[in-house]
Each structure stands twice: as structure tokens, then as C-alpha cells.
Symmetry: C2
Subunit: 155 residues, 2 copies
Amino acid sequence: MMYSIGETARRIGVNPSTLRYYDKEGLLPSVQRSSGGVRMFTENDFTWLRLIGCLKATGLPIKEIRQYILWLQQGDATLEKRRDMFYKQKAAVEEQMAELQRALDAVTYKCWLYDKAVEAGSEKVIRNIDPADIPEDIRKLRTNSGVYQDVDGLS
Amino acid sequence: MMYSIGETARRIGVNPSTLRYYDKEGLLPSVQRSSGGVRMFTENDFTWLRLIGCLKATGLPIKEIRQYILWLQQGDATLEKRRDMFYKQKAAVEEQMAELQRALDAVTYKCWLYDKAVEAGSEKVIRNIDPADIPEDIRKLRTNSGVYQDVDGLS
DNA sequence: ATGATAGTTAAAGTCAACTTTAAATTGGAA
DNA sequence: TTCCAATTTAAAGTTGACTTTAACTATCAT
């Protein structure tokens, strides 16, 4: 079964022009063409696009995905390079997760503060708040994320 | 204690020109100036910059951070808007975490595959691999991330 | 066979978030 | 006081990842 660029884009959740852009950048070396030059995608291409999606989600630039493809095409001689790329990216994601967790802690802390403020109808109750008035679990977020004693007083 | 833009940039881990850019975009409304016009940062500004860092890490655009500051300056009337912003961002981060976890699963699976391939010195061993030969925990990653039966055969 | 719909390319445009440049000014050490 | 590194501004440049445009072509249902 073959799929048009429009159908593929719809199923993967991107703009058709994004797929053309990826193709131009060498990210879709295995997509076939009809006799008239129209791209025809297979389920296998969808899997490949899902991998591209994962790699992009990890922040890997398109140029490095391209490099991976070039290594793929060189066969067994580049196995280590490809393995190293994935290990490097794994470490990168783990660091991103930690950073995102810190950001989440900060935001969660702010949610707690603003719940207090909205409840009281005023910022006053949270300006220069006494740490003893903050529940243990929320206080941990504040410490962990380094976001307190704000310039705006919403500490 | 006051700090120069250079010292501040060094401590926060950004380029001094980034701080000037943030200032120009209205993200640093509380940074003081010397009589000669030179910016002077305080510990409080560092805390504020750390919050900006967290918000940026969650993908919040600079324009929306600016909006938050405008709301801050309007006082209690905008408490709900600010609370809602943080709750919306909290949900956004939780979704980002889930996506990043999916990407991590895919990358971890690829690490396992390439370890096998490097060990054998060839891609052959992992091309069209029998799912029964994949340990349960690794097979879960493959399923979870949707990245298998690749165009490159490194399924 | 024809016309609508969806595809093709190359090239230019957009956007966010910086980064660099140039020319002038500030501020602390000698 | 003089000097030099660091600062200032406005404006232009950069980067990555698309997105749009224009002009043309393919495919498919009637």
C-alpha cells in the first residue's frame, strides 16, 4: 500500500511542505516516486518519519539526522559512529528531562502560590511568605528550582 | 551587592548580549542603572533570570513572558490570568515530558540494537530481528515509541 | 477528454531568539 | 589624568526549521 504526500502528512501530523523540505534535506532517501515524479510513501516510511520525529524531539538538528543517514548508507564500517550518536543523544535526553523537571518544579510552585493569592484575592499573602507556612512538598519545589525571593515579590 | 552585565551573564550562563536583548524585550523591568547608564544586577535579578530560564525551558515564548510581566504590573486584577498561565504551562510541560519519554524509549531501543550490531560487527544480526530474541523490557521500548521495522532495516 | 484536486520545483519569505557590528561612553586602576 | 577593558545603543546579520508563492504537472473521477 502506497500513500500520497498529503495523506502521509495528515497521518504523521505535519505539513506536506515539511515532508518536501525533509526530502530536500536528504532525510527521506527511501521514498519512492511514481513515473510522473509524485512521491509515494509506505508504512516503512511512516516508521522512518516516526524515528525522525523522536530524534527531532530530542533536539537533534536535521543536519545530524542527515549525517546518520550518510553513515547508514556506508554500512558496517560506521556502526560504532551510529551507536555513539544514539548514546550521546540518550545522555542529552536524560539531561533535558532533568532540566524540564526543574522547570516543572518552578511552575508547580508558582501554581501553588497563585492558588493562595487568588484564594485571598491579593498578592499580599504570598509576598515575603514565611517558609514555615509552605507545605514541605511545595517548599522542596521552591528550593529545587532556585526560583524564589522574586523581584516581583511572588516568592 | 551589585553585579555588572558581564558578571551576571557569566553566573547565569548566557551571553551578555542575551541579557541586553531580554532587557530590550521588556523582560528585565527591575534592573537598575548607574548614573552613567550602566546596568546593575542584584541577587533578586538573578532569581528573576532563573525564573525566565525555567519558563523558557518549558517553551514559553519571550512575548508571553512579557505578557506575564505586564500582568504583574497591573496588580491583583490579573491574579487569575497569571495563575491560569502557570497552570497552562504546567500541563504543557507534562505533555513535553511524555513526548520526551517516548523519544527516550526510541533512542534507548536503538542503543540496544546498535550494541548488538557492534558486538557482532555487522548490521545483519539486527536486520529483521525476531521479537522473541528481544528482552521484554527492550521490546516494550520498541512498541511504546513506534519506531521499528525501519526503512534501514535496523528494526 | 476534461476539469478539479493534489502533486511538483525553485526560490523567496517568515519567525523566534539570539549574535554581531560599529561607534560612542563609562568606570576603575595606575 | 590617562588608559583600557567593559559597557552602551541601534541596526544589521545569523541560524534553523519550516512555510509560502508561483508556475507548472500529474492523477483521478466523471
